[in-house]
Symmetry: C2
Subunit: 141 residues, 2 copies
């Protein structure tokens, strides 16, 4: 599995408030790939995502009260086959498979594993996002 962390998503209770804080308050720019359901911000080659905490837990198949810390990490890769391979490598290394890879509602393909402390990692193929040669997500402006 390549050493890549491409997206950090923060679970939030009020997306509008979080967008005001990060974008209006700190002056960070929401990518045009953001909408009323999710916000993506390029924070120097890694993507900061803001997403409702309950939906984030649900996406990772975690129960909000089960010790879910409210943050997910993600590695974006270039194909469905790479998603499968990375998840297999993680499980072989001792990770717990949280969610087998499957097509997603947003048109991509992803699955989740948990590291030894339960930190959830998504491995995702997003056909709408470009990756640069270093494997970083290039968000639209």
């Amino acid at each position: 599995m390549n050493p890549r962390l491409t997206v950090i998503t923060l679970g939030v209770t009020d997306l509008a408030r979080s967008r005001r804080f990060y974008c209006d308050g700190l002056g960070w720019k929401a990518s045009s790939s953001s909408d009323e359901h999710i916000v993506f911000i390029d924070v120097g080659g890694v993507v900061l995502g803001l997403y409702p905490r309950d939906l984030l837990a649900e996406d990772a198949t975690l129960t909000p009260g089960s010790g879910f810390g409210g943050v997910t990490l993600a590695q974006n890769v270039g194909s469905k086959a790479e998603v499968d391979a990375a998840l297999q490598a993680a499980v072989k290394a001792g990770a717990t498979l949280l969610k087998p890879a499957a097509d997603t509602f947003w048109g991509g393909y992803s699955g989740y594993f948990a590291d030894p402390d339960g930190h959830p990692w998504e491995v995702a193929f997003n056909p709408f996002w470009k990756l640069d040669e270093a494997g970083r997500v290039v968000l639209p402006g």
Copy 2:
């Protein structure tokens, strides 16, 4: 405050186990700046840190049981003055100051703020780490 996320630190309960998982298992390379107390891994221009969860909470002046999710985010900047300025900007934007900027035991200077959901951000100047022109941490190999 510049849009930069330079380090994600995962709080872990057994650092040796986590190092085995990420480095031996996944094959990711621990930087030579790692030691028996902390592990740093370059994950594509952003740094993944592994650090005992209780000490991570303590560093951010958070109580482990207080809703701390076990993850901290950090923005590394180039000087003490930039730490002060970024923390001031965050508080002006509505962040809660968790820990005023101060000299640290590891020879740097840092402080913490919490975003509207309590996600802790450290703003740090580490005189031992180089930042590239994009503001990314360049870890030693």
